[in-house]
Symmetry: C2
Subunit: 207 residues, 2 copies
């Protein structure tokens, strides 16, 4: 039997990570999030910051910008991008082969397309996202509302950039997902069992 | 106890109407769709085509285009628009007061905002929408694929126009809905119980 793969893309501050974690607990699935960065960095023999920057912004830092341009020449940036994609694909495929799982971020829905994952996008209005960040992350306590909104918009833009490297459809465009969930004004712990039930049923209905 | 209101907006051909009907059957809710047009036309003393055109395209036909423009003067079109909104609001409010219900179309989620409805948007990729139209509506059997795609796009544009008369957010923009459901490649009869369960839980969790 084919393993069940759920992927979660999410706006920053919308609670997508918490949703994924809680769903994984409810469903008894494995849960993968930041550990993918650690593992891919190790395989690429790069440090984690380099890889997470590549993931988060879709840019490849710290490689020489001068190099010979000949027809068959692949620049270090291009090589790193290829490596990142290859390692991401390999790692996500390993997860998918290992058992039922939920993967947050990394455009996993695109990389694991042939596994017919159930792809979720999680979003919320700005006011609720700001509130969520302020309530849950000590680091943001010193931010003004405007600074936090700027940060949220910047992170989302980065995520969209990364997603754009592997998908023709824009990040967050609902046509790229099976279910889009607005978490605004709701507790994730209340939504998680609802979405988990939905996902469970999703996998029992034939395509 | 407050009545439970579910509103469904939908792309043409995505199966939103069937979803609403099936959910209403499962949940034991009343279901309202085209009958709103009949009833509003009666109350406005207009014929149904006039009202359905106003609903579907957001335009008001057949009224004289020449009239005096003075400061306090309301044109017949403007008066009809006001009347349509007033009668829509009144009728939808009557539905909402009467009992739990599902309302398809008419921007009901906007009109019934104070009832805190659960607002759903239903969509699918073009290929599946064309397929659905061809399979289910005899009228479309003579259409080419291109003609049907044109028709689908035109109807969606009309719906967006009407929605734009009452909402600041664009029609189909996921921020205006609690849940967006991609029906592409799935049978509505399989999705309906999943969404019904989700909606039921939605109403049991406090805001």
């Amino acid at each position: 039997m084919k393993n069940k793969i759920i992927t979660i893309s999410r706006e920053f501050g919308s609670g997508g990570r918490e949703l994924g974690k809680r769903m994984a607990d409810i469903l008894g699935y494995s849960y993968y999030d930041r550990e993918t960065v650690t593992e891919i960095a190790k395989r690429m023999k790069k440090d984690e910051t380099y890889v997470s920057t590549a993931f988060e912004k879709g840019v490849f830092l710290g490689v020489p910008i001068h190099y010979n341009q000949t027809l068959a020449y692949v620049s270090p940036q291009e090589q790193d991008k290829i490596d990142l994609f290859v390692e991401t694909k390999n790692l996500l495929t390993e997860f998918a082969e290992k058992g039922n799982c939920i993967i947050v971020g990394r455009a996993a829905g695109i990389f694991l397309h042939e596994y017919q994952p159930f792809n979720i996008f999680v979003y919320a209005d700005m006011a609720h996202r700001v509130q969520r960040c302020l309530e849950r992350t000590h680091e943001y306590e010193t931010y003004t509302k405007e600074e936090l909104e700027d940060k949220i918009r910047r992170i989302d833009k980065d995520r969209a950039n990364y997603y754009g490297l592997v998908s023709k459809k824009p990040w967050g465009d609902k046509s790229g997902y099976h279910l889009c969930i607005n978490t605004g004004g709701r507790e994730i712990k209340q939504l998680a069992p609802m979405v988990a039930t939905y996902a469970k049923e999703w996998f029992t209905t034939p395509l």
